[in-house]
Protein backbone atom coordinates (compact mmCIF):
# COMPACT_ATOMS: atom_id res chain seq x y z
CA UNK A 1 0.00 0.00 0.00
CA UNK A 2 1.34 3.36 -1.01
CA UNK A 3 1.18 5.69 1.95
CA UNK A 4 1.88 8.72 -0.20
CA UNK A 5 -1.28 8.13 -2.12
CA UNK A 6 -3.45 8.30 0.97
CA UNK A 7 -2.25 11.75 1.90
CA UNK A 8 -2.19 13.03 -1.64
CA UNK A 9 -5.00 15.46 -2.30
CA UNK A 10 -6.02 15.68 -5.89
CA UNK A 11 -6.15 19.38 -6.59
CA UNK A 12 -6.67 19.05 -10.30
CA UNK A 13 -10.36 19.61 -10.84
CA UNK A 14 -10.11 20.76 -14.43
CA UNK A 15 -11.86 17.69 -15.77
CA UNK A 16 -14.68 17.88 -13.25
CA UNK A 17 -17.54 17.24 -13.90
CA UNK A 18 -17.25 14.77 -16.71
CA UNK A 19 -17.72 16.10 -20.20
CA UNK A 20 -20.38 14.42 -22.27
CA UNK A 21 -20.30 13.52 -25.92
CA UNK A 22 -21.81 16.82 -27.01
CA UNK A 23 -18.97 18.74 -25.36
CA UNK A 24 -21.09 19.94 -22.46
CA UNK A 25 -20.53 18.92 -18.85
CA UNK A 26 -22.93 16.29 -17.55
CA UNK A 27 -24.81 17.89 -14.70
CA UNK A 28 -27.68 15.95 -13.21
CA UNK A 29 -29.37 18.20 -10.68
CA UNK A 30 -31.48 15.40 -9.19
CA UNK A 31 -28.36 13.42 -8.28
CA UNK A 32 -27.96 15.82 -5.29
CA UNK A 33 -24.34 16.32 -6.18
CA UNK A 34 -24.98 19.78 -7.51
CA UNK A 35 -26.82 22.83 -6.28
CA UNK A 36 -28.07 25.51 -8.59
CA UNK A 37 -28.02 29.00 -7.17
CA UNK A 38 -28.63 32.41 -8.61
CA UNK A 39 -26.41 35.30 -7.78
CA UNK A 40 -28.41 38.35 -8.60
CA UNK A 41 -30.12 40.40 -9.71
CA UNK A 42 -30.77 41.09 -6.03
CA UNK A 43 -27.32 40.30 -4.70
CA UNK A 44 -24.87 42.72 -3.14
CA UNK A 45 -21.85 40.99 -4.64
CA UNK A 46 -22.91 41.41 -8.26
CA UNK A 47 -21.97 44.66 -9.94
CA UNK A 48 -25.15 46.41 -10.89
CA UNK A 49 -28.26 44.63 -11.95
CA UNK A 50 -27.37 41.34 -13.56
CA UNK A 51 -27.55 37.69 -12.62
CA UNK A 52 -25.24 34.72 -12.58
CA UNK A 53 -26.75 31.28 -12.72
CA UNK A 54 -24.23 29.07 -11.00
CA UNK A 55 -24.21 25.32 -10.60
CA UNK A 56 -22.16 24.34 -7.62
CA UNK A 57 -20.50 21.20 -6.49
CA UNK A 58 -19.72 21.99 -2.88
CA UNK A 59 -18.12 25.40 -2.91
CA UNK A 60 -16.93 25.05 -6.46
CA UNK A 61 -18.64 26.32 -9.57
CA UNK A 62 -19.00 23.74 -12.31
CA UNK A 63 -21.19 25.69 -14.68
CA UNK A 64 -21.99 29.36 -14.95
CA UNK A 65 -24.30 31.36 -17.12
CA UNK A 66 -24.63 35.11 -17.25
CA UNK A 67 -28.10 36.57 -17.51
CA UNK A 68 -28.34 40.16 -18.60
CA UNK A 69 -31.20 42.33 -19.76
CA UNK A 70 -32.41 43.61 -16.43
CA UNK A 71 -31.37 47.10 -17.44
CA UNK A 72 -32.43 47.03 -21.07
CA UNK A 73 -34.03 50.28 -22.16
CA UNK A 74 -33.69 49.92 -25.90
CA UNK A 75 -31.34 52.87 -26.35
CA UNK A 76 -30.43 51.95 -29.87
CA UNK A 77 -34.09 51.92 -30.78
CA UNK A 78 -34.85 55.12 -28.89
CA UNK A 79 -32.03 56.97 -30.63
CA UNK A 80 -33.43 55.97 -34.00
CA UNK A 81 -36.45 58.14 -33.34
CA UNK A 82 -34.61 61.11 -31.85
CA UNK A 83 -32.87 63.93 -33.65
CA UNK A 84 -29.10 64.02 -33.33
CA UNK A 85 -29.10 66.69 -30.66
CA UNK A 86 -31.83 64.87 -28.75
CA UNK A 87 -29.64 61.79 -28.63
CA UNK A 88 -27.19 63.49 -26.30
CA UNK A 89 -29.23 63.48 -23.09
CA UNK A 90 -30.22 59.89 -23.81
CA UNK A 91 -26.74 58.79 -24.67
CA UNK A 92 -25.04 59.77 -21.40
CA UNK A 93 -27.21 57.26 -19.58
CA UNK A 94 -25.69 54.35 -21.47
CA UNK A 95 -23.07 53.61 -18.86
CA UNK A 96 -24.03 55.32 -15.68
CA UNK A 97 -20.77 55.05 -13.81
CA UNK A 98 -18.74 56.74 -16.53
CA UNK A 99 -20.98 58.93 -18.67
CA UNK A 100 -18.49 61.15 -20.48
CA UNK A 101 -17.06 58.62 -22.97
CA UNK A 102 -20.62 58.10 -24.23
CA UNK A 103 -20.99 61.80 -25.01
CA UNK A 104 -17.58 61.91 -26.59
CA UNK A 105 -18.27 58.93 -28.84
CA UNK A 106 -21.62 60.21 -30.04
CA UNK A 107 -20.21 63.68 -30.67
CA UNK A 108 -17.26 62.25 -32.56
CA UNK A 109 -19.50 60.03 -34.67
CA UNK A 110 -21.67 62.98 -35.63
CA UNK A 111 -18.66 65.18 -36.32
CA UNK A 112 -16.95 62.58 -38.43
CA UNK A 113 -20.00 61.82 -40.52
CA UNK A 114 -20.80 65.47 -41.14
CA UNK A 115 -17.19 66.64 -41.43
CA UNK A 116 -16.90 69.10 -38.56
CA UNK A 117 -13.49 70.04 -37.17
CA UNK A 118 -13.33 70.51 -33.42
CA UNK A 119 -11.42 73.61 -32.20
CA UNK A 120 -8.24 72.98 -30.26
CA UNK A 121 -9.36 74.38 -26.91
CA UNK A 122 -12.44 72.20 -27.06
CA UNK A 123 -10.27 69.15 -27.65
CA UNK A 124 -8.22 69.89 -24.55
CA UNK A 125 -11.36 70.46 -22.52
CA UNK A 126 -12.80 67.19 -23.76
CA UNK A 127 -9.65 65.41 -22.75
CA UNK A 128 -9.77 66.98 -19.31
CA UNK A 129 -13.37 65.89 -18.80
CA UNK A 130 -12.65 62.37 -20.03
CA UNK A 131 -9.71 62.00 -17.67
CA UNK A 132 -11.66 63.42 -14.74
CA UNK A 133 -14.41 60.96 -15.47
CA UNK A 134 -11.90 58.13 -15.54
CA UNK A 135 -10.47 59.36 -12.27
CA UNK A 136 -13.84 59.32 -10.53
CA UNK A 137 -14.48 55.77 -11.71
CA UNK A 138 -11.08 54.50 -10.64
CA UNK A 139 -11.30 56.16 -7.25
CA UNK A 140 -14.15 53.78 -6.54
CA UNK A 141 -13.10 50.93 -8.78
CA UNK A 142 -9.61 50.29 -7.39
CA UNK A 143 -10.64 49.95 -3.72
CA UNK A 144 -13.85 48.29 -4.90
CA UNK A 145 -11.76 45.27 -5.77
CA UNK A 146 -10.83 44.92 -2.11
CA UNK A 147 -14.46 45.58 -1.25
CA UNK A 148 -15.44 42.34 -2.93
CA UNK A 149 -13.20 40.58 -0.43
CA UNK A 150 -14.88 42.48 2.41
CA UNK A 151 -12.30 45.22 2.86
CA UNK A 152 -14.60 48.19 2.50
CA UNK A 153 -12.36 50.79 4.08
CA UNK A 154 -10.59 51.89 0.91
CA UNK A 155 -13.91 52.22 -0.85
CA UNK A 156 -15.07 54.67 1.80
CA UNK A 157 -11.94 56.78 1.48
CA UNK A 158 -12.08 56.68 -2.30
CA UNK A 159 -15.73 57.66 -2.42
CA UNK A 160 -15.00 60.77 -0.42
CA UNK A 161 -12.46 61.98 -2.97
CA UNK A 162 -14.77 60.95 -5.77
CA UNK A 163 -17.43 63.20 -4.32
CA UNK A 164 -14.95 66.08 -4.45
CA UNK A 165 -14.22 65.35 -8.12
CA UNK A 166 -17.96 65.27 -8.76
CA UNK A 167 -18.13 68.72 -7.18
CA UNK A 168 -15.67 69.94 -9.77
CA UNK A 169 -17.85 68.40 -12.46
CA UNK A 170 -20.81 70.21 -11.04
CA UNK A 171 -18.90 73.46 -11.17
CA UNK A 172 -17.88 72.88 -14.77
CA UNK A 173 -21.00 71.32 -16.22
CA UNK A 174 -23.83 71.77 -13.73
CA UNK A 175 -24.43 68.06 -13.31
CA UNK A 176 -23.18 65.70 -10.66
CA UNK A 177 -23.49 62.38 -12.43
CA UNK A 178 -24.71 63.21 -15.93
CA UNK A 179 -22.76 66.05 -17.46
CA UNK A 180 -23.75 66.46 -21.12
CA UNK A 181 -20.74 68.71 -21.48
CA UNK A 182 -19.52 67.49 -24.84
CA UNK A 183 -21.70 68.58 -27.75
CA UNK A 184 -21.17 68.09 -31.47
CA UNK A 185 -18.62 70.65 -32.58
CA UNK A 186 -17.08 71.27 -29.20
CA UNK A 187 -17.94 71.65 -25.55
CA UNK A 188 -20.42 73.71 -23.60
CA UNK A 189 -18.18 76.10 -21.75
CA UNK A 190 -14.76 77.20 -20.59
CA UNK A 191 -13.31 76.41 -17.20
CA UNK A 192 -14.64 78.65 -14.41
CA UNK A 193 -12.25 80.96 -12.56
CA UNK A 194 -10.05 79.16 -10.07
CA UNK A 195 -11.13 75.75 -11.31
CA UNK A 196 -7.60 74.50 -11.85
CA UNK A 197 -6.56 75.51 -8.36
CA UNK A 198 -9.46 73.70 -6.73
CA UNK A 199 -8.94 70.64 -8.88
CA UNK A 200 -5.27 70.61 -7.95
CA UNK A 201 -6.24 70.59 -4.28
CA UNK A 202 -8.42 67.55 -4.86
CA UNK A 203 -5.66 65.85 -6.82
CA UNK A 204 -3.35 66.27 -3.84
CA UNK A 205 -5.86 64.34 -1.75
CA UNK A 206 -6.02 61.74 -4.47
CA UNK A 207 -2.23 61.42 -4.39
CA UNK A 208 -2.40 60.66 -0.71
CA UNK A 209 -5.17 58.18 -1.34
CA UNK A 210 -3.05 56.39 -3.94
CA UNK A 211 -0.34 55.90 -1.34
CA UNK A 212 -2.78 54.74 1.32
CA UNK A 213 -4.47 52.28 -0.96
CA UNK A 214 -1.09 50.80 -1.79
CA UNK A 215 -0.51 50.08 1.88
CA UNK A 216 -4.04 48.92 2.50
CA UNK A 217 -4.50 46.63 -0.48
CA UNK A 218 -1.32 45.66 -2.22
CA UNK A 219 0.75 45.11 0.89
CA UNK A 220 -2.09 43.35 2.64
CA UNK A 221 -1.27 39.69 3.17
CA UNK A 222 -4.87 38.49 3.15
CA UNK A 223 -5.67 40.43 0.00
CA UNK A 224 -2.63 38.89 -1.66
CA UNK A 225 -3.73 35.45 -0.57
CA UNK A 226 -7.20 35.97 -1.97
CA UNK A 227 -6.35 37.71 -5.21
CA UNK A 228 -3.13 36.12 -6.41
CA UNK A 229 -3.63 33.36 -8.93
CA UNK A 230 -7.35 34.02 -9.09
CA UNK A 231 -9.17 34.36 -12.40
CA UNK A 232 -6.20 33.76 -14.64
CA UNK A 233 -6.64 34.89 -18.25
CA UNK A 234 -4.24 33.18 -20.67
CA UNK A 235 -2.75 35.35 -23.39
CA UNK A 236 -4.54 33.54 -26.19
CA UNK A 237 -7.91 34.48 -24.70
CA UNK A 238 -7.30 38.14 -25.54
CA UNK A 239 -8.43 37.88 -29.15
CA UNK A 240 -10.67 34.86 -28.85
CA UNK A 241 -12.80 36.22 -26.03
CA UNK A 242 -12.34 39.92 -26.62
CA UNK A 243 -10.40 41.18 -23.62
CA UNK A 244 -9.72 44.91 -23.45
CA UNK A 245 -8.19 47.57 -21.32
CA UNK A 246 -6.68 46.83 -17.92
CA UNK A 247 -7.56 43.14 -18.15
CA UNK A 248 -5.57 42.79 -21.38
CA UNK A 249 -2.72 44.90 -20.05
CA UNK A 250 -2.48 42.65 -17.01
CA UNK A 251 -1.93 39.77 -19.42
CA UNK A 252 0.96 41.57 -21.05
CA UNK A 253 -0.86 42.83 -24.14
CA UNK A 254 -0.82 46.54 -24.78
CA UNK A 255 -4.46 47.55 -25.20
CA UNK A 256 -4.88 51.22 -24.58
CA UNK A 257 -6.57 53.27 -27.27
CA UNK A 258 -4.95 56.41 -25.93
CA UNK A 259 -1.56 54.98 -26.83
CA UNK A 260 -2.32 52.77 -29.82
CA UNK A 261 -4.80 55.03 -31.64
CA UNK A 262 -4.17 58.47 -30.12
CA UNK A 263 -7.30 60.57 -30.33
CA UNK A 264 -7.86 64.19 -29.29
CA UNK A 265 -4.47 65.48 -28.08
CA UNK A 266 -3.22 62.35 -26.35
CA UNK A 267 -0.23 62.22 -28.71
CA UNK A 268 1.06 65.41 -27.09
CA UNK A 269 0.97 63.98 -23.58
CA UNK A 270 3.70 61.96 -21.99
CA UNK A 271 2.43 58.71 -20.51
CA UNK A 272 3.12 55.01 -20.59
CA UNK A 273 0.37 52.59 -19.58
CA UNK A 274 1.52 49.93 -17.14
CA UNK A 275 1.59 46.33 -18.27
CA UNK A 276 2.34 43.16 -16.40
CA UNK A 277 2.06 39.49 -17.21
CA UNK A 278 0.58 37.77 -14.15
CA UNK A 279 -2.95 38.20 -15.49
CA UNK A 280 -4.76 37.38 -12.27
CA UNK A 281 -7.11 39.47 -10.16
CA UNK A 282 -4.19 40.94 -8.25
CA UNK A 283 -2.38 41.95 -11.44
CA UNK A 284 -5.53 43.55 -12.87
CA UNK A 285 -5.98 45.43 -9.67
CA UNK A 286 -2.38 46.65 -9.76
CA UNK A 287 -2.81 47.73 -13.39
CA UNK A 288 -5.85 49.76 -12.48
CA UNK A 289 -4.01 51.27 -9.56
CA UNK A 290 -1.27 52.38 -11.95
CA UNK A 291 -4.01 53.73 -14.21
CA UNK A 292 -5.26 55.78 -11.31
CA UNK A 293 -1.80 57.19 -10.74
CA UNK A 294 -1.39 57.86 -14.45
CA UNK A 295 -4.76 59.58 -14.68
CA UNK A 296 -3.85 61.99 -11.90
CA UNK A 297 -0.62 62.72 -13.72
CA UNK A 298 -2.43 63.16 -17.05
CA UNK A 299 -4.89 65.65 -15.56
CA UNK A 300 -1.95 67.68 -14.27
CA UNK A 301 -0.29 67.56 -17.71
CA UNK A 302 -3.51 68.60 -19.43
CA UNK A 303 -4.03 71.49 -17.05
CA UNK A 304 -0.48 72.68 -17.67
CA UNK A 305 -0.60 72.38 -21.44
CA UNK A 306 -4.12 73.45 -22.32
CA UNK A 307 -4.77 76.94 -23.71
CA UNK A 308 -6.61 79.24 -21.35
CA UNK A 309 -8.95 80.84 -23.85
CA UNK A 310 -10.05 80.10 -27.37
CA UNK A 311 -12.80 78.90 -29.62
CA UNK A 312 -14.70 76.09 -27.90
CA UNK A 313 -17.38 75.23 -30.41
CA UNK A 314 -17.29 74.90 -34.17
CA UNK A 315 -20.34 76.22 -35.99
CA UNK A 316 -22.93 73.53 -36.60
CA UNK A 317 -26.11 73.58 -38.70
CA UNK A 318 -29.43 74.29 -37.04
CA UNK A 319 -29.69 71.30 -34.74
CA UNK A 320 -33.42 70.96 -35.33
CA UNK A 321 -32.94 70.41 -39.04
CA UNK A 322 -29.57 68.73 -38.98
CA UNK A 323 -29.40 66.07 -41.68
CA UNK A 324 -26.28 64.00 -41.96
CA UNK A 325 -25.43 62.41 -45.32
CA UNK A 326 -25.47 58.66 -45.72
CA UNK A 327 -22.46 56.96 -44.25
CA UNK A 328 -21.20 54.80 -41.46
CA UNK A 329 -18.35 55.00 -39.04
CA UNK A 330 -16.86 53.43 -35.95
CA UNK A 331 -15.08 55.53 -33.38
CA UNK A 332 -13.53 54.42 -30.16
CA UNK A 333 -11.93 55.76 -27.05
CA UNK A 334 -10.43 54.34 -23.90
CA UNK A 335 -12.78 54.12 -20.98
CA UNK A 336 -11.66 52.97 -17.57
CA UNK A 337 -12.74 49.45 -18.52
CA UNK A 338 -11.13 49.28 -21.93
CA UNK A 339 -11.99 49.96 -25.53
CA UNK A 340 -15.29 51.74 -25.81
CA UNK A 341 -16.63 52.22 -29.30
CA UNK A 342 -19.65 53.42 -31.15
CA UNK A 343 -20.83 52.35 -34.57
CA UNK A 344 -23.17 54.76 -36.30
CA UNK A 345 -24.99 54.47 -39.59
CA UNK A 346 -26.76 57.46 -41.06
CA UNK A 347 -29.10 57.53 -44.04
CA UNK A 348 -29.42 61.22 -44.86
CA UNK A 349 -32.36 61.86 -42.53
CA UNK A 350 -32.37 63.90 -39.33
CA UNK A 351 -32.12 60.83 -37.08
CA UNK A 352 -29.45 58.16 -36.96
CA UNK A 353 -30.27 54.96 -38.81
CA UNK A 354 -28.52 52.76 -36.34
CA UNK A 355 -26.34 53.33 -33.34
CA UNK A 356 -24.50 50.47 -31.72
CA UNK A 357 -22.42 50.80 -28.64
CA UNK A 358 -19.61 48.39 -28.10
CA UNK A 359 -18.40 48.25 -24.56
CA UNK A 360 -15.76 45.97 -23.05
CA UNK A 361 -18.27 44.61 -20.54
CA UNK A 362 -20.21 43.03 -23.38
CA UNK A 363 -17.53 40.42 -23.92
CA UNK A 364 -16.07 40.49 -20.43
CA UNK A 365 -19.28 39.72 -18.60
CA UNK A 366 -20.64 37.16 -21.01
CA UNK A 367 -18.25 34.79 -22.70
CA UNK A 368 -15.18 35.55 -20.59
CA UNK A 369 -16.80 35.59 -17.16
CA UNK A 370 -18.64 32.36 -17.85
CA UNK A 371 -15.34 30.76 -18.72
CA UNK A 372 -13.36 32.19 -15.81
CA UNK A 373 -15.90 31.16 -13.21
CA UNK A 374 -15.62 27.47 -14.02
CA UNK A 375 -13.81 25.72 -11.17
CA UNK A 376 -13.63 28.93 -9.16
CA UNK A 377 -14.80 29.10 -5.59
CA UNK A 378 -18.20 30.68 -5.03
CA UNK A 379 -16.55 33.15 -2.66
CA UNK A 380 -14.50 34.51 -5.55
CA UNK A 381 -17.27 35.26 -8.03
CA UNK A 382 -17.60 38.87 -6.95
CA UNK A 383 -13.84 39.32 -7.02
CA UNK A 384 -13.46 37.97 -10.53
CA UNK A 385 -16.43 39.93 -11.77
CA UNK A 386 -15.25 43.24 -10.39
CA UNK A 387 -11.72 42.65 -11.67
CA UNK A 388 -13.17 42.56 -15.19
CA UNK A 389 -14.83 45.92 -14.48
CA UNK A 390 -18.29 44.89 -15.56
CA UNK A 391 -20.83 47.64 -16.16
CA UNK A 392 -24.21 45.99 -16.88
CA UNK A 393 -26.02 48.96 -18.48
CA UNK A 394 -23.55 48.99 -21.33
CA UNK A 395 -24.06 45.29 -22.04
CA UNK A 396 -27.75 45.43 -22.71
CA UNK A 397 -28.11 49.19 -23.31
Amino acid sequence: MDIKKIFQINNDRSSYPEIGEDGKPIIDLSSHKYVKIWQGPQHPGVTGNMALELTLSGDEIVESKTHVGYLHRGFEKLMERRKFIQCFPTCVRLCVAEPDPNEYLLATCVEELSGIEVPETAQWLRMLVLEMSRLQVLLRGVPGQAGTFALGLGYQWGSYIRDLILDRFEELTGGRVYHMYILPGGVRGLLPDGFKKRLEENLKLADEFVKNINDLMFNNIVFKKRAKGLGYIPKDYIDRYGVYGPAARAAGVMRDIRKTHPYLKYAELDFEPYTTTESDVYARSVVRWHDLKMTIDLIRQIMAKMPEKGEIKAPTPNVMHWRIPKGETYVKCESSRGEYGMYMVTDGSDTPRRVNLKGPSYTHANALLEKLLINANIADTAGIMVSLATCPPEIER
Binding site: V68, G69, H72, G74, E76, K77, L78, E80, R81, K83, Q86, E112, I238, D239, R240, Y241, G242, V253, R255, T260, H261, M320, H321, G327, E328, T329, Y330, E339, G341, Y343, V345, R353, R354, N356, K358, Y362, T363, N366, A367, L368, K371, E396
Partner: protein, 175 residues
Protein backbone atom coordinates in the same frame (compact mmCIF):
# COMPACT_ATOMS: atom_id res chain seq x y z
CA UNK B 1 -4.24 49.39 -45.62
CA UNK B 2 -4.47 49.92 -49.40
CA UNK B 3 -2.30 46.87 -49.94
CA UNK B 4 -4.59 44.66 -47.92
CA UNK B 5 -7.66 45.94 -49.74
CA UNK B 6 -6.02 45.24 -53.10
CA UNK B 7 -5.12 41.80 -51.88
CA UNK B 8 -8.69 41.16 -50.79
CA UNK B 9 -10.06 42.52 -54.08
CA UNK B 10 -7.95 40.02 -55.97
CA UNK B 11 -9.43 37.14 -54.00
CA UNK B 12 -13.01 38.20 -53.29
CA UNK B 13 -15.68 40.10 -55.17
CA UNK B 14 -15.98 43.41 -53.39
CA UNK B 15 -19.13 45.15 -54.51
CA UNK B 16 -18.59 48.35 -52.56
CA UNK B 17 -15.87 49.89 -50.47
CA UNK B 18 -15.78 52.95 -48.30
CA UNK B 19 -12.62 54.26 -46.67
CA UNK B 20 -13.66 56.27 -43.64
CA UNK B 21 -10.29 57.05 -42.09
CA UNK B 22 -6.86 55.76 -42.89
CA UNK B 23 -7.31 53.10 -40.24
CA UNK B 24 -10.92 52.17 -40.96
CA UNK B 25 -12.59 50.96 -44.11
CA UNK B 26 -15.78 49.11 -44.93
CA UNK B 27 -16.05 46.43 -47.61
CA UNK B 28 -19.29 45.01 -48.92
CA UNK B 29 -19.32 41.41 -50.08
CA UNK B 30 -21.86 38.84 -51.06
CA UNK B 31 -23.54 36.80 -48.34
CA UNK B 32 -21.86 33.61 -49.55
CA UNK B 33 -18.39 35.12 -49.44
CA UNK B 34 -18.71 36.96 -46.15
CA UNK B 35 -17.72 34.15 -43.85
CA UNK B 36 -14.77 33.13 -45.97
CA UNK B 37 -13.60 36.77 -46.13
CA UNK B 38 -13.88 37.08 -42.36
CA UNK B 39 -12.00 33.84 -41.88
CA UNK B 40 -9.35 34.94 -44.38
CA UNK B 41 -8.88 38.24 -42.60
CA UNK B 42 -8.60 36.52 -39.26
CA UNK B 43 -6.23 33.77 -40.28
CA UNK B 44 -4.01 35.37 -42.91
CA UNK B 45 -4.15 39.14 -42.45
CA UNK B 46 -3.90 39.35 -38.67
CA UNK B 47 -7.39 40.74 -38.08
CA UNK B 48 -7.63 38.45 -35.12
CA UNK B 49 -9.85 40.50 -32.86
CA UNK B 50 -13.59 40.90 -33.38
CA UNK B 51 -14.67 44.37 -32.41
CA UNK B 52 -18.34 43.95 -33.04
CA UNK B 53 -21.01 42.25 -35.05
CA UNK B 54 -24.17 44.16 -35.63
CA UNK B 55 -27.01 44.57 -38.05
CA UNK B 56 -28.70 47.51 -39.73
CA UNK B 57 -32.27 47.29 -40.93
CA UNK B 58 -32.67 48.68 -44.47
CA UNK B 59 -36.39 48.09 -44.60
CA UNK B 60 -36.86 50.06 -47.82
CA UNK B 61 -34.66 47.62 -49.70
CA UNK B 62 -35.87 44.60 -47.77
CA UNK B 63 -32.41 43.84 -46.46
CA UNK B 64 -30.51 43.48 -43.24
CA UNK B 65 -26.94 44.69 -43.34
CA UNK B 66 -24.60 42.65 -41.16
CA UNK B 67 -21.34 44.29 -40.18
CA UNK B 68 -18.38 42.30 -38.91
CA UNK B 69 -15.88 44.80 -37.61
CA UNK B 70 -12.42 43.28 -37.29
CA UNK B 71 -9.41 44.79 -35.64
CA UNK B 72 -5.77 44.13 -36.35
CA UNK B 73 -3.86 44.79 -33.14
CA UNK B 74 -0.44 44.87 -34.80
CA UNK B 75 -1.15 47.27 -37.69
CA UNK B 76 -3.81 49.05 -35.63
CA UNK B 77 -6.32 49.11 -38.45
CA UNK B 78 -9.93 48.06 -38.69
CA UNK B 79 -11.92 46.54 -41.51
CA UNK B 80 -15.67 46.35 -41.50
CA UNK B 81 -17.09 43.51 -43.58
CA UNK B 82 -20.62 44.34 -44.66
CA UNK B 83 -22.99 41.90 -46.18
CA UNK B 84 -26.65 42.14 -47.11
CA UNK B 85 -29.03 39.37 -46.17
CA UNK B 86 -32.65 38.98 -47.02
CA UNK B 87 -35.12 40.43 -44.55
CA UNK B 88 -37.57 37.58 -44.97
CA UNK B 89 -36.44 34.46 -43.11
CA UNK B 90 -33.17 36.12 -42.25
CA UNK B 91 -30.50 33.55 -41.56
CA UNK B 92 -26.74 33.73 -41.59
CA UNK B 93 -24.02 31.21 -41.09
CA UNK B 94 -22.79 31.14 -37.52
CA UNK B 95 -19.15 32.01 -36.84
CA UNK B 96 -18.93 30.85 -33.27
CA UNK B 97 -15.99 28.62 -34.17
CA UNK B 98 -13.87 31.68 -34.95
CA UNK B 99 -14.37 33.67 -31.75
CA UNK B 100 -15.79 32.62 -28.43
CA UNK B 101 -17.37 36.00 -27.85
CA UNK B 102 -19.35 36.14 -31.08
CA UNK B 103 -22.10 33.91 -29.76
CA UNK B 104 -23.26 36.74 -27.52
CA UNK B 105 -23.61 39.04 -30.52
CA UNK B 106 -25.46 36.36 -32.42
CA UNK B 107 -27.85 35.77 -29.55
CA UNK B 108 -28.55 39.48 -29.40
CA UNK B 109 -29.16 39.70 -33.15
CA UNK B 110 -31.49 36.73 -33.02
CA UNK B 111 -33.52 38.36 -30.32
CA UNK B 112 -33.42 41.96 -31.44
CA UNK B 113 -33.59 41.55 -35.22
CA UNK B 114 -34.81 38.01 -35.66
CA UNK B 115 -31.73 36.99 -37.61
CA UNK B 116 -31.13 33.31 -37.07
CA UNK B 117 -27.66 31.81 -36.74
CA UNK B 118 -28.30 28.07 -36.78
CA UNK B 119 -25.90 26.10 -34.64
CA UNK B 120 -24.70 28.94 -32.48
CA UNK B 121 -24.61 27.95 -28.79
CA UNK B 122 -27.59 28.99 -26.64
CA UNK B 123 -29.06 30.81 -29.64
CA UNK B 124 -32.63 30.02 -28.65
CA UNK B 125 -32.30 31.16 -25.06
CA UNK B 126 -33.50 34.53 -23.89
CA UNK B 127 -30.74 37.06 -23.91
CA UNK B 128 -32.13 40.44 -23.00
CA UNK B 129 -35.89 40.27 -23.32
CA UNK B 130 -38.01 37.82 -21.45
CA UNK B 131 -41.18 36.37 -22.88
CA UNK B 132 -41.25 38.77 -25.83
CA UNK B 133 -44.00 37.87 -28.29
CA UNK B 134 -44.04 40.81 -30.67
CA UNK B 135 -41.92 41.75 -33.68
CA UNK B 136 -38.22 41.78 -32.76
CA UNK B 137 -37.87 45.28 -31.39
CA UNK B 138 -34.87 46.59 -33.33
CA UNK B 139 -36.65 46.09 -36.65
CA UNK B 140 -37.66 49.39 -38.20
CA UNK B 141 -41.32 48.45 -38.48
CA UNK B 142 -41.63 48.04 -34.73
CA UNK B 143 -43.01 51.27 -33.28
CA UNK B 144 -41.68 51.57 -29.77
CA UNK B 145 -43.72 54.67 -28.87
CA UNK B 146 -46.99 53.05 -29.91
CA UNK B 147 -46.14 49.86 -28.06
CA UNK B 148 -45.20 51.76 -24.93
CA UNK B 149 -48.37 53.81 -24.96
CA UNK B 150 -50.52 50.75 -25.42
CA UNK B 151 -48.80 48.70 -22.77
CA UNK B 152 -47.40 50.79 -19.98
CA UNK B 153 -50.16 53.19 -18.82
CA UNK B 154 -48.64 56.54 -19.81
CA UNK B 155 -49.25 59.15 -17.15
CA UNK B 156 -51.73 61.65 -18.54
CA UNK B 157 -50.47 65.15 -19.08
CA UNK B 158 -47.44 64.51 -21.23
CA UNK B 159 -47.46 66.45 -24.48
CA UNK B 160 -45.36 65.26 -27.33
CA UNK B 161 -44.34 67.81 -29.93
CA UNK B 162 -42.17 67.63 -32.97
CA UNK B 163 -39.11 69.54 -31.75
CA UNK B 164 -38.50 71.57 -34.89
CA UNK B 165 -42.03 72.87 -35.37
CA UNK B 166 -42.46 73.39 -31.64
CA UNK B 167 -39.25 75.38 -31.27
CA UNK B 168 -40.15 77.42 -34.35
CA UNK B 169 -43.53 78.34 -32.91
CA UNK B 170 -41.90 79.31 -29.63
CA UNK B 171 -39.03 81.32 -31.10
CA UNK B 172 -40.70 82.89 -34.13
CA UNK B 173 -44.41 83.01 -33.40
CA UNK B 174 -45.08 85.56 -36.12
CA UNK B 175 -43.70 83.59 -39.05
Amino acid sequence: MQQIIQDIESRFTITDKETRRNDLCFLTVDKLQAISLVTYLRDYQGYASLTLLTAVDWIEEGNFQLTYLLNNPSTRTEIGVRTMIDRENATMESTHHLWENIQTYQRELKEMFGIDFPGSPRIDEDFILEGWDNIPPYRRDFDTKKYSEETYFPRPGRETNDPSTYMKSKLYPND
